[in-house]
């Protein structure tokens, strides 16, 4: 399995039947391929029940997700306006959201919407991290240039403070806890020390550390 699918598959293990979940673009969006049956997907523009990409007669303007992809609604779907969509988000009705990350800090701060000076806007990310019950960051452990993305303090503009619950990367799974970052899983063939070298904060290695499948 390639790195991106490995991350998505592991992140999707946090979902259980009956959950309503929001997925960001990129790797997070791939989580739907690995979710257990009974998970439903929410999209910011106002829908619960986002299904697979539509083709042919099913590809209509009336059903498109927040990435502008036309989809097929799954059984049990419902539609609502943008205010209701974010009411659902802020009030904690979403079991989980999976988002990309630029930086995650030791205390759970997340920076994921822009690099300094970026000019795209935050979209719905600040609402999602504010309200969702489980905020899961799915990202590669290090930036393209090898610099750590798990940091002592975020230098990029924040999406939210103290908001991240789980970090899933291609090499490890880390939980944010009041005590600090806890290393829960390490990729088959790697050691905790090899993870520690790639992150800034000191990791707490879980007593029950597991092996993450390749």
């Amino acid at each position: 399995m390639d790195i991106r699918n490995r991350i998505a598959k592991r992140a999707a293990e946090y979902f259980k039947a009956g959950d309503v979940v929001n997925l960001g673009v990129g790797i997070p969006g791939m989580c739907s391929d690995y979710a257990v049956p009974g998970v439903m997907f929410h999209t910011e523009n106002g829908f619960i029940g986002v299904g697979p990409a539509a083709t042919g007669l099913q590809k209509v303007e009336s059903f498109s997700n927040a990435s502008s992809t036309e989809f097929v609604p799954v059984s049990g779907s419902c539609a609502f306006d943008s205010a209701e969509s974010f009411a659902i988000v802020r009030s904690g009705r979403l079991a989980a959201t999976v988002l990309g990350g630029l930086q995650v800090a030791e205390n759970g701060d997340l920076a994921n919407w822009t690099r300094p000076g970026g000019k795209f806007g935050m979209g719905g990310a600040m609402d999602l991290v504010n309200g969702t019950r489980n905020v899961i960051v799915a990202m590669e452990l290090c930036a393209k240039n090898g610099s750590p993305k798990i940091v002592k303090e975020c230098s990029y503009p924040l999406t939210g403070k103290h908001c991240v619950n789980h970090i899933v990367t291609e090499q490890c799974v880390i939980d944010v806890t009041p005590q600090g970052l806890v290393l829960l899983e390490v990729l088959e063939g790697l050691s905790p020390a090899e993870i520690q070298r790639q992150v800034e904060p000191l990791l707490i290695v879980s007593n029950s550390i597991k092996t993450m499948e390749r």
Binding site: E44, N45, G46, N65, S68, A79, M122, G123, M126, P157
Partner: protein, 218 residues
């Protein structure tokens, strides 16, 4: 009886230089494209636009930017529109970013006669720098105050409209449209289907006609 159904020409005549226009739709979907064309045909400039995003370059709502009709934009995201990003970098447009859920609430407040709402979204981020912080006396909890937004003209895409202006929506075409329908001095609708009075059905109506001023004739 035409009720609120109006000709293209009559709608084009409503647009003036410097107006604030809020527009439904997101990422090129659920946008009132026939009304976007009315703006372009009206020849107005220096608009302020309020919308969830700025669509793609020269597509749907993005056509307004392509034609350089907009001085200011209040939105949550422009990343899909290379032209708007370039304009922002060149200092040719003023963009105010609002978190998407807060933007929806600000428009709702504008349409609901409310002054604003208190939200935790954006606390501890750059958004906080431009917001009034309100502490609730009873709880001591701190929130950002997101104030009401209104516009001169609201442009709405609906699936169905009747001559009284009652509207119905479909799937994700809905998005911000029911909110945008409420918060302007003049609300104009681009409906896919014009229905007879009572054809939509009392319980299928998503926007009461009392909010709507004009429906574009087919």
């Amino acid at each position: 009886m035409p009720g609120k159904i109006r000709s293209r020409d009559e709608i084009i005549a409503q647009f003036k230089d410097g107006q604030t226009v809020m527009c439904g739709g997101m990422h090129n979907h659920g946008t009132p494209n026939n009304l976007i064309q009315c703006i372009i045909d009206s020849g107005v400039k220096h608009l302020t636009v309020i919308s969830i995003d700025s669509a793609d370059a020269n597509l749907t709502l993005g056509r307004l930017y392509h034609h350089r009709l907009v001085d200011k934009l209040i939105t949550s995201y422009i990343g899909r529109n290379t032209e708007v990003v370039a304009m922002l970098e060149a200092g040719e447009i003023d963009v105010e970013f609002v978190p998407q859920g807060s933007l929806a609430e600000r428009v709702r407040c504008g349409g609901a006669g409310l002054g604003g709402v208190l939200t935790k979204t954006g606390l501890g981020t750059v958004v906080e720098e431009t917001r009034q912080i309100v502490e609730i006396n009873d709880s001591g909890e701190k929130y950002l105050l997101e104030t009401a937004l209104r516009a001169d003209i609201g442009l709405v895409r609906a699936r169905m409209a009747d001559p009284l202006g009652n509207l119905a929506y479909r799937g994700t075409l809905r998005n911000s449209n029911p909110l945008i329908a409420t918060a302007s001095d003049l609300t104009i609708v681009d409906a896919d289907m014009l229905m007879d009075v009572d054809e939509i059905g009392i319980d299928r109506i998503g926007t009461p006609g009392v909010y709507v001023d004009m429906v574009l004739a087919k």
